[in-house]
Amino acid sequence: MPETKRYSENPFVVESPEKLDVEEVYDLFVRENSGVEVVQQRKHAFIWGPRGSGKSMLLRYLEPKCQAIRFTEQGETWEKGLRRFVEGANPFLGIRIACKEGYFNKTELEMMDKSSAQILSEHMMNLSLASATLNVLDSQFPVDFFTTESKVILARKVSRLFNSASIGGSLNEASTDFKIETDPFKWTWRLFDAELRNLQEYLRQQALPEGKVRYQGATSGYHDFLLPFARIVQELFPGKRVPLYFFIDDADRLKIYQQQLVNSWMANRDLNMICIKTAAQFHEYRTMMTRDGSLLENPHDYTEFSIEALYSSTNDSYTEKIRAIVTKRLHFAGIDRTPEEFLQPDPEQERLLKKMKEVTAAEWEKVGKPGKQNDFVHRYAVPRLFQELKRTKQRRNYAGFENIVHLSSGVARYFLEPCYLMFEELLQQQRRDELTTGISPAVQRDVLYKYSEDFVLDLEKIRKDLTPDTFDTLDRLSVLLNSLGRLFYENLTNPESRDARLFSFTVRGELSQEARDVLDLAKRYRYFQLRTYSSKEGGGRELWYVLNRRLCPVYKLDPTGFGGRLSIQSSHLDLAMRDTNKFVTLRLKSGEDDQPDLFSLEALS
């Protein structure tokens, strides 16, 4: 059980995984559908996901002490669990380093030529990985897990990976602070720490050289340091092959040549010793090339897992995952409610939906019983609800656990954030009773609408980050969102519509440069998510753009729709970026005239 105070203050609080201790990570982590099975394979891997989607939690969960807790049986201490894990079928030593802002992408590196910057970057990253390894060995293993003799051997061997003359100062510093015979791990950690400080000091001085200053310290690469280092660490586990899994977290923050460096490591196949697991935001990881210009290829060089893609899978894995997360958090907060009980939908609209289901079931009979009745009801009941709401001039209330799951579009943080705000709202309104029973649909509705509206208003914030020559692109995106929002709404609320719950589109024909720029911008700021599907012609995958469901409350759309997508001609996409009225009118007209040239519907592949 984690430190529960902050969850009782607000069960939906979003904490940085770095801040959590190992036990808390273990308790909060939801293993189901997390990608853990993919990532713990003995392969290099990329873990893709936007910020807040759970990448760091996943990597922290794979650290040794979490695995130890996982393998602990009833009544045992975690130390026993650790032995069971290490002696099991697939042991590994998970070491995470964060590439947070300013950790590796130092401004001083820009003052050097690319080759020097790359050499120093690799050394800096090697030192960070090595010191993180020593820290994990020291803090996440029981003191007596390794013999003192084996630890001392490791310390001596590791120090010999460098030329002793070039690390003389660091050796002295390590020996001043720790005794190698009694604290070998700490001694070795200190050695790396001192080397890292030397490197930072060089970067500092590099800015202010009297004459040309050359770096005279040690450097390290993959084959002359990282690989032998891993081999030495493995010797701590005699008779076992325990590979080191190096988790490079937030790798999108690295400079391109640093990303090439990571890719170069991943191009090596020493998987029994080193597996590199790189976590990043897909669109911000800017190269798949290695340092020598080769392309890193899937599945040849690596495997990958996209956390976001969970949401698009046809089973309910993302919903299950969020349900498990919320269940845990409510439990930590001492709230005895299920997620569905705590976040209930609007009862009035639920009644209306139930009625619409009955209406569509009867409709199925009238129209000659096409397909299965359940499928028909599933397909038309929600659109009928939206049509009824339009007729009676009511807004859809998106309250309810399942609706909020859909609105979060595959990112756990986008579920937790509005729920956090709802809880805060109750606190502010001093509605203390509801804090333990559930958040009223009215509070949910208001927060969810505001949260959606904020996302649209963010377009103006984005403008501030763009250069004036790209303002047009942003304006086109704004119009495109409106065009699609209105078109989807018209489609949803049209009783004649055959496939009313459309939420995504594909483009036929060559995209104009302007459209490319707009779609790129939309992907970057997550207004659209990009997926692929197999083309009808076969032999390839086509791009498929899905609107972020966080936009639903503003555009009055149904976030639960997955079936089908619009196929839009590229020339009409250009129109949609310029003139919402013309685009929507043209579309509706073509619908009436049954002219499928503007867009046609495609079934989900």
């Binding site: 770095e18 947070k100 300013g102 401004t107 820009e110 890292l196 202010l208 250069t467």
Partner: protein
């Protein structure tokens, strides 16, 4: 920090004098920008100020603005009169940290380290924050035995046109609403921000050259932030760094009451916005006194120095940036972080000149 009162009084009392009143300064450096106050110290060269060499630093992005050119003309004509050797303009770019640093290096330390007792006066008023940090690092390195005097002139007003617009909107709104029912209605925060801004948007976050800090993988990140008026810029920094805790400065003074109230208001908004992401703890700092703020930051940083990877950034006045610099040279594992905005409010940044103050940069 020696605050000499209003610019007018300072001029009446003789204006700017050399560091050693009996001898010329060796070097005078200033930055010309679109702000009126960038001419302040040149305006104060009314009496006996003399210098051997002088130069003006200009951001190339602002170089072609009429207001910048007007200010350059004023400063140039004064420097030509008081200097034995006026070196002219040096163009750098706030968009390019390396270029900016190299230009400043040639300007501040053309002969690398100078072992003599050189006397340098620098008007820090309108340097960008990043260029000022570079400038201070170079000055301290190049003149270890010299005297480096920093001068700063506060403005009379920030966002004068924006404030006038808000007054107008409030007046219009008060005319149209029912006063009996709606007395407390004010303009929305976003409406206020639309008119009252100094910089906006985001290009990048980077460490100030020479202050990369030391980041240990086993330690969490902590941000020491001295807030100014720029709420969005502060939020962007917090989002990028993702610290486990923010130590947020609480201003205790300002050169004018109005500035103080605005900065307190901005700080309050920041606390509200930051709190949903990570804990925020506050500490007092002075917007005017370098010594007070330097000690305040030092006290905070010392507590976390061995347990956190510390980032430090100031969005407050230039004196607070000097204070931050002084802390960073004492605790060199701290990273000094700069955020580069998309735009500065060139048309409505500040107006006038209020107080002038001086500070001697301590050397080893």
């Amino acid at each position: 920090m020696n605050i000499c009162g209003s610019v007018e009084n300072f001029m009446v009392n003789g204006g700017l004098l050399p560091i050693d009143k009996s001898d010329k300064d060796d070097l005078f450096i200033t930055c010309a920008s679109f702000e009126q106050r960038s001419t302040g110290l040149a305006d104060c060269m009314t009496g006996n100020y003399r210098v051997k060499q002088s130069a003006i630093y200009v951001n190339s992005e602002f170089r072609n603005l009429k207001s910048t050119q007007d200010n350059i003309n004023i400063i140039e004509s004064k420097l030509q009169k008081v200097s034995d050797n006026y070196l002219g303009l040096r163009l750098g770019s706030w968009g390019n940290a390396v270029e900016q640093f190299q230009v400043l290096r040639k300007l501040v330390a053309p002969n690398n380290v100078c072992s003599g007792t050189t006397r340098v006066t620098v008007d820090i008023t309108t340097f960008t924050r990043e260029s000022l940090i570079s400038c201070l690092a170079l000055l301290r390195w190049a003149y270890p035995k010299g005297t480096v005097r920093l001068a700063y002139i506060s403005p009379k007003e920030y966002n004068p046109a924006g404030k006038a617009m808000i007054r107008k909107l409030e007046l219009e709104s008060s005319k149209t609403r029912d006063k009996a029912n709606d007395l407390d209605q004010h303009l929305s925060a976003s409406e206020m921000q639309r008119h009252l801004w100094l910089s906006r948007g985001f290009r990048c976050i980077r460490n100030a050259i020479g202050f990369p800090g030391l980041q240990r993988q086993n330690l969490p990140a902590l941000l020491i932030l001295l807030p100014g008026y720029e709420i969005e810029r502060a939020l962007t920094i917090v989002n990028a760094i993702e610290p486990v805790q923010v130590m947020l400065g609480r201003p205790t003074d300002a050169t004018r009451d109005e500035f103080y109230e605005r900065s307190l208001d901005a700080k309050t908004q920041m606390v509200r916005l930051f709190k949903s992401r990570q804990p925020v703890r506050e500490f007092d700092f002075s917007c005017k006194s370098i010594e007070t703020t330097s000690q305040a930051i030092l006290d905070v940083a010392t507590v976390f120095y061995d347990t956190h990877n510390i980032y430090m950034t100031s969005l407050s006045t230039k004196p607070t940036l000097v204070a931050m610099f002084l802390t960073a040279i004492k605790l060199n594992r701290i990273q000094v972080t700069c955020s580069v905005p998309r735009d500065y409010n060139i048309d409505d940044y500040s107006t006038g000149m209020h107080e002038v103050s001086f500070f001697n940069l301590p050397q080893d």
